[in-house]
């Protein structure tokens, strides 16, 4: 089987895209911790449910950013093909 240099670069780009998505672990853990603490806060003070929910969602959306950077890198490697 003959693999040209171009195909080799595409294959390595796909592997790199997969590795970039390891960045998804961090936000998953962080969002889970935030949601857990949010649930505990609602249990302690059910009256402040709406405030707690909006704060939790804002914090989760900000914590998600690092994972999304990984996603952007993976998408650029897969579809924009900067090295091909």
């Amino acid at each position: 089987m003959n693999i040209s240099g171009q195909d080799f670069i595409y294959g390595c780009s796909a592997i790199g895209a997969g590795l970039a998505m390891i960045a998804g672990i961090g936000p998953g853990v962080g969002q889970g911790i935030a949601a857990g603490h949010g649930a505990a806060a609602v249990g302690r003070n059910p009256g402040a449910k709406s405030d707690i929910t909006s704060t939790m969602l804002l914090g989760q959306a900000v914590a998600e950013t690092t994972g999304l950077y990984g996603l952007v890198v993976a998408i650029i490697l897969m579809f924009v093909k900067p090295f091909g």
Partner: protein
């Protein structure tokens, strides 16, 4: 994209034109933005007409407008306090625009905010407002503030300033693009029986839930950045 698959989630060109020797395209994003702008204009004129002859006992449409205005007011005063009235116009405008752009995937358009050109421009406008407020309220202190705790920290402070527009625009872009890609793959690559019913749940999460949350987050972060410079 390569691979010979039928999944289609890319931006397509509609009309080609040349400007100063450059080949440029009107894309599906441009078409979507035009449609959304027209819809928003019609809504604005209808709301203006309704509010000019407002009644004591509000009708359905007047009720919706008043509810929206109250939500906008509580959202802005919650963060900006006394200065809220000066920024409520801008926040309300970008809130409606981003919300309609995020939901345009439900109307059969390609989601408008899944184009980095749109979100980066929104981020740049936020950046410009933040810098203008900083210079207006602090004068030279806006620039000397970059050396504040220690002069050694200047590069980090500078990067922190310039990372704001990139981070808020990438957040919105990547969230909407992930929804577009997931739905494009689902519609393009699965057999016909998988396309009945199940995409509705995906649309609810990727377009409705994610879109509304990201709209809220974009407006909140814009206000937080502006509030830092007041």
């Amino acid at each position: 994209m390569g691979g010979g698959s039928e999944a289609d989630f890319m931006i397509h060109g509609v009309v080609k034109y040349t400007l100063f020797g450059q080949e440029l395209w009107l894309t599906t994003t441009t078409v979507g933005m035009t449609i959304i702008t027209i819809v928003l204009l019609i809504l604005a004129f209808a709301a203006n007409r309704t509010m000019k002859k407002a009644t004591d006992v509000p009708g359905t449409f007047q009720n919706i407008i008043e509810l929206g205005m109250e939500m906008l007011e509580s959202m802005t005063t919650g963060i900006l306090g006394k200065e809220a009235r000066r920024f409520a116009n801008y926040i309300g405008t970008i809130f409606l625009f981003i919300l309609f752009c995020n939901l345009s995937g439900l109307a059969g358009l390609r989601t408008v905010t899944a184009d980095f050109g749109v979100t980066f421009l929104l981020g740049l406008v936020t950046f410009a407002i933040v810098q203008y407020q900083g210079i207006k309220n602090h004068g030279v202190g806006h620039f000397t503030g970059l050396f504040k705790p220690l002069p050694v920290l200047f590069p980090i402070n500078l990067i922190g300033e310039f990372a704001n527009p990139i981070s808020i625009s990438l957040r919105l872009f990547a969230n909407m693009l992930s929804g577009v890609i997931i739905l494009g793959l689902w519609y393009g690559m699965l057999p016909i029986f998988a396309k009945i019913g199940i995409p509705a749940a995906l649309h609810v999460y990727c377009d409705l839930f994610s879109g509304c949350i990201q709209t809220y987050v974009f407006c909140m972060l814009t206000m937080v950045y502006v509030n830092d410079k007041l």
